[in-house]
């Protein structure tokens, strides 16, 4: 592996100071399950790795005034095991449960999954349909970014070079329901060929999101007033929203078929859950 300097941070102040000093030469190290692979492959060669895991406040996982706060360093398995998840957030646990393998989920963090910004990231679609916000900090202060504005391009986010994600905030669905589905080449540990999430509010507003069919996970929330059971119209809207490509995992054509297939199953599950 390439050499770098490993910097362990115990406070957010320390982390943003270091990041402001080293900005483009530094990378934030959370779970490391994507970053260390990309360093090993020579795709990036940061001079400094800033380990934010020792910072206590980034491990918060709690319901605060109807808002689920997931600290950036919360691992995917910790999220799955969280007992106080509000009703209607099934999409997030369903996605977390099929993200990579058990070992990876013990290291991989929620913050890392979105900051890595893979078009196929499994937590992208559920966070998009649930209307999550990304809370960040830099020396210039704190801000929150709606998740639909967070992803910019393949592996690129709208984070500034000196900015750190501190938490992901998800509003309680309050009577709404959600679900997630993933299509991979094999049943076990694999990247998504297409992943998808859907959510409906109590008064019937539909949001759907898809991964691995565009440069970033994409949200579709305007279905021209189509009803939930008007599958044909909903699928039409989806086909215009996606722009899949051929790659080693699947062809663009196959991905289009999968978006349609997953969308139909998701709509069915959502209708069942609304009645249940």
């Amino acid at each position: 592996m390439a050499t770098f300097k490993y910097l362990r941070c115990h406070s957010l102040d320390e982390a943003i100071d270091l990041l402001a000093t080293h900005a483009r030469q530094a990378r934030i190290l959370a779970g490391g399950t994507d970053l260390l692979v990309s360093i090993r492959d020579g795709l990036e060669s940061p001079r400094y790795l800033i380990d934010i895991k020792p910072i206590a406040e980034l491990h918060t996982l709690a319901l605060e005034d109807g808002l689920l706060r997931i600290g950036a360093s919360v691992t995917v398995n910790q999220l799955i095991d969280f007992e106080h998840l509000p009703a209607g957030m099934d999409a997030i646990t369903e996605a977390a449960s099929c993200l990579a393998s058990y070992q990876i989920r013990n290291r991989a963090t929620v913050g890392g999954n979105i900051c890595n910004a893979s078009p196929a990231c499994d937590l992208g679609p559920p966070l998009l349909v649930l209307g999550a916000k990304v809370e960040t900090i830099s020396k210039r202060g704190r801000r929150t970014i709606p998740i639909e504005d967070f992803f910019e391009d393949v592996k690129v986010t709208r984070l500034e070079p000196d900015e750190i994600v501190t938490a992901i905030l998800i509003p309680s669905p309050r009577g709404g329901v959600s679900t997630f589905l993933k299509r991979s080449r094999i049943k076990g540990h694999d990247l998504a060929v297409v992943n998808a999430a859907g959510a409906v509010t109590k008064d019937g507003n539909l949001r759907m999101a898809f991964g691995a069919v565009a440069p970033t996970p994409i949200l579709v929330d305007d279905f021209n007033g189509a009803r939930l059971d008007d599958t044909a119209r909903i699928v039409d809207v989806l086909m215009n929203a996606i722009s899949p490509i051929d790659d080693v995992r699947a062809s663009a054509v196959y991905r289009k078929y999968m978006v349609e297939a997953l969308a139909k199953k998701i709509l069915e599950t959502l209708m069942n859950r609304l009645q249940g």
Partner: protein, 158 residues
């Protein structure tokens, strides 16, 4: 170099590590704990699985300086008083080992599972070893071995 203190298979150890070493590299090349294997080196195969603070992880994706203060169990820590554990014995008896390269990681994933759940269902076993690739056995004997070991350990054989 960074100075770290770890507990490895029950033994406290203080040592200096290079900042870019992985835990896997530290175990194999500096502590001569070569039971842990390197397969893919990128978190796909699970051959390098070890238990850190009670949780199974891929040691190829953890840096040595990150485990400062942690308790680490490798396949070398699975034996007790010079005897194979019920898990190791069940793997041998059930034909869960063919070439053997995945076995140390597989046993570590199984050990971590039995630590958190002494009576796992087949689905829970499959979930626990989903990150451990085996190209020989077809997994069935491995799943049987883990079930059998769980049963024996629940009956206080250990």
């Amino acid at each position: 170099m960074k100075s770290i203190s770890i507990k490895i298979n029950g033994e406290p150890l203080a040592l200096d590590v290079e900042e870019h070493w992985t835990l896997l590299y530290l175990l194999r090349e500096h502590l001569a704990l070569t039971g842990t294997k390197e397969g893919c080196g990128r978190g796909e195969c699970g051959a390098c699985t070890v238990i850190v603070d009670g949780k199974p992880i891929n040691s190829c994706l953890v840096l040595a300086p990150e485990v400062d203060g942690c308790e680490i169990t490798t396949i070398e820590g699975e034996m007790r008083n010079g005897r194979l554990s019920p898990l190791q014995e069940a793997f041998i008896e059930m034909g869960a080992i063919q070439c053997g390269f995945c076995t140390p990681g597989m046993v570590m994933s199984a050990r971590a599972l039995l630590m958190r759940n002494p009576d796992p269902s087949e689905d829970e076993i499959v979930e626990a070893i989903c990150g451990n690739l085996c190209r020989c056995t077809g997994y069935e004997p491995i799943i049987r071995a883990i079930r059998e070991a769980a049963k024996r350990e629940r009956n206080h054989e250990r």
